[in-house]
């Protein structure tokens, strides 16, 4: 029984004249590992940004668990400067679209990691992961300043959870190391642990395998499968074909902003349009 956790309808994002994502319809099934692939500049990272709410779409909508989190209400052709000034004064007109903010989306359970990791260099390993638990804890300034019991309770819980996730990705013994002192492969694992600490429902991994060697990629695959088994839906953007083919249960292919194919790894590999997109139009070469 297919359970769609995330769906996009006609999702479009243009930057001036450049259309980065072009009327993309896709459906992400829950508890499965989906991969989004495509040549460079296909719009994969923009797609992630749209899903996490960093960008607002120019057109189309995004539904999370059936509820719209991003919906364009009205399109006003070419927007000009005056319209923008007016809009920014009048709040109700400001949202020509309905947008759930990035922070809210994280609360709902949509979390991403970054291609360039973006760890918090001023903290150690476990503190990075503990930061991920921020939304799942609630004590405020007052309790923090005066060391009230609520703070102590929550800090213990946060620390325990952080250790759990660190162990899950295999970084348990590096708890107190400086975050930036880890090699790249482990930094990526740390980023994943941090994202897991937010207790997400949908985890978006942006090129998790980039810069890893074969062994590390093997460990990464195992980790992703374990994450899926925990009940989290995983979507990853990747360039490494063998990694994707071995891991993904569904593959979506983008090229210059459009979706050109989807299906299982095997189906997509044979698709003529996919081959053309990656290798160019010259089929005589094949």
């Amino acid at each position: 029984m297919m359970d769609i956790i995330l769906e996009t309808k006609g999702l479009t994002r243009a930057f001036g004249g450049l259309v980065a994502v072009d009327t993309v319809d896709l459906q992400i099934e829950s508890n499965k590992i989906t991969a989004v692939i495509g040549p460079n500049g296909a719009g994969k990272t923009t797609l992630f940004n749209l899903i996490t709410g960093v960008y607002a779409p120019t057109d189309g909508e995004i539904l999370f668990k059936g509820e719209p989190i991003s919906k364009v209400l009205s399109r006003s052709g070419r927007h000009n400067r005056f319209r923008v000034i007016a809009d920014s004064f009048i709040n109700s007109l400001r949202y020509r679209s309905y947008q759930v903010s990035p922070v809210q989306r994280t609360k709902l359970g949509i979390v991403r990691t970054f291609q360039h990791v973006h760890l918090f260099g001023n903290m150690n390993v476990i503190e990075n992961v503990m930061t991920g638990q921020h939304l799942r804890s609630s004590y405020g300034f007052f309790e923090a300043a005066f060391l009230l019991p609520k703070r102590h309770r929550e800090e213990t819980r946060i620390t325990l959870n952080a250790k759990k996730y660190l162990n899950m990705v295999g970084l348990g013994q590096h708890e107190n190391a400086d975050a930036m002192s880890l090699p790249l492969g482990q930094q990526k694992l740390l980023a994943i642990a941090r994202a897991l600490a937010t207790e997400p429902k949908l985890l978006l991994l942006d090129e998790p395998g980039a810069g890893l060697n074969r062994l590390e990629k093997q460990d990464l695959s195992d980790l992703i499968r374990r994450i899926r088994d925990m009940g989290i839906t995983v979507v990853l953007v990747e360039h490494d074909m063998p990694l994707v083919m071995g891991l993904a249960e569904k593959v979506i292919v983008l090229d210059t902003g459009k979706k050109i194919a989807e299906g299982t790894a095997a189906q997509v590999q044979k698709d003529k349009r996919v081959i053309a997109a990656y290798l160019g139009e010259d089929e005589d070469e094949l």
Partner: protein
């Protein structure tokens, strides 16, 4: 030099420093510096707020003195003209300042350059409003007098001696509170914002709201300091929070270290001692030296002097000398020794027959 000895030595340092500071106001010790000590304490309170703000948002506030002034004036007016209990006045002043900071918070949406200018503008406007005294309640350029002392029950803080402890008591409390905030989830969120705003947002931390919170906190700290000052000097006037004072506060924060809490004492102390004791004899050179210090620190150690010294020490430095300088000194020393040896050897070999 064994680091173990040094770290134990650090633990000893704390009670030594505390005893030192506690004994300062006694006349047989450093009694003549009571007033200076109190001023340093007040400046530290403001500086901690500024250090936290600048450290965690990565922005400059060139208008912090304005919040100091608001606290000072509200305390002054409410307790003298309207006869309110000074403690209540201080509380109200802090709330008002917090509110003002909250409303002004929208300027935090501006980028670095522009925010700096906006805060400068704010600092200037608040000061000017106090000077103009349109509604006759701030006493104009002369300010307000007749402010009562703070008191607990029948115990009045009527001497420099008593006020020294009052101010430092507040200062210590604020430092400890700040420390516990930084170690908490709030502190982690702030450090996250400082480390990578993008990643922080992705974890659900509302970056703008946190910047706003730390801005308000720094304003409230400044307000408390201002109120304490009003009950100390017994005079509130615009001369105590001119726009240039905001710049001096930035210098204190920079010397102390931008995200550092205890370093604020160092920063405030350094600047106040320089300004009031050493450079007062050199008049305008005051500005020059402080400006130069500011530039040198920002050029060489953008994270602040105290923090740089601390990290330098942690990275296998000796005492507080950062590794770089230690290595430089050592290589110079061995270079000179080597040169000397070669000279001796050379003079034996190279002698012409």
């Amino acid at each position: 030099m064994s680091r173990k000895i040094l770290s134990q030595w650090r633990l000893l340092l704390i009670p030594v420093v505390i005893t030192f500071m506690a004994l300062v106001p006694f006349d047989w010790f450093l009694g003549q510096y009571k007033y200076l000590g109190t001023v340093i304490g007040l400046s530290t309170i403001v500086t901690v707020g500024l250090c936290l703000f600048m450290g965690y948002t990565g922005q400059v506030s060139l208008g912090q003195a304005a919040f100091y002034g608001i606290g000072m004036y509200f305390s002054a007016v409410l307790s003298s003209v309207h006869g309110l209990n000074p403690w209540l006045a201080m509380l109200i002043a802090a709330c008002v300042t917090g509110l003002v900071a909250l409303l002004l918070g929208i300027i935090l949406r501006l980028k670095g350059n522009y925010l700096a200018m906006a805060t400068l503008a704010v600092g200037f406007v608040v000061w000017k409003i106090a000077v103009i005294d349109d509604m006759g309640c701030t006493g104009g350029p002369d300010g307000i007098r007749g402010i009562p002392y703070l008191s607990i029950g029948s115990f009045e803080f009527d001497s420099q001696f008593k006020r020294y402890y009052l101010v430092w008591g507040f200062c210590l409390a604020i430092l400890l509170i700040s420390q516990s905030i930084v170690n908490s989830r709030i502190g982690r969120a702030l450090r996250a914002v400082h480390g990578s705003e993008e990643a922080a947002e992705s974890l659900g931390i509302n970056v703008f709201r946190f910047k706003l919170k730390i801005f308000v906190v720094s304003a409230v700290y400044a307000s408390i300091a201002g109120s304490l000052f009003a009950h100390h000097q017994l005079h509130a006037s615009p001369g105590y929070f001119e726009p240039i004072d905001s710049v001096y506060l930035v210098i204190m924060a920079v010397i102390g270290g931008l995200a550092s809490i205890w370093g604020a004492i160092f920063g405030a102390g350094a600047v106040e001692i320089l300004r009031n004791e050493i450079l007062i004899h050199y008049d305008k050179w005051n500005m020059v030296i402080l400006g130069l210090i500011l530039m040198v620190i920002l050029i060489l150690m953008p994270e602040g002097l105290f923090v740089a010294l601390k990290t330098g020490y942690q990275q296998e430095g000796v005492f507080f000398i950062p590794r770089r300088i230690w290595r430089l000194a050592r290589s110079l020393y061995s270079g000179i020794k080597g040169f000397h040896r070669r000279k001796i050897a050379g003079s034996l070999q190279g002698e012409p027959d």
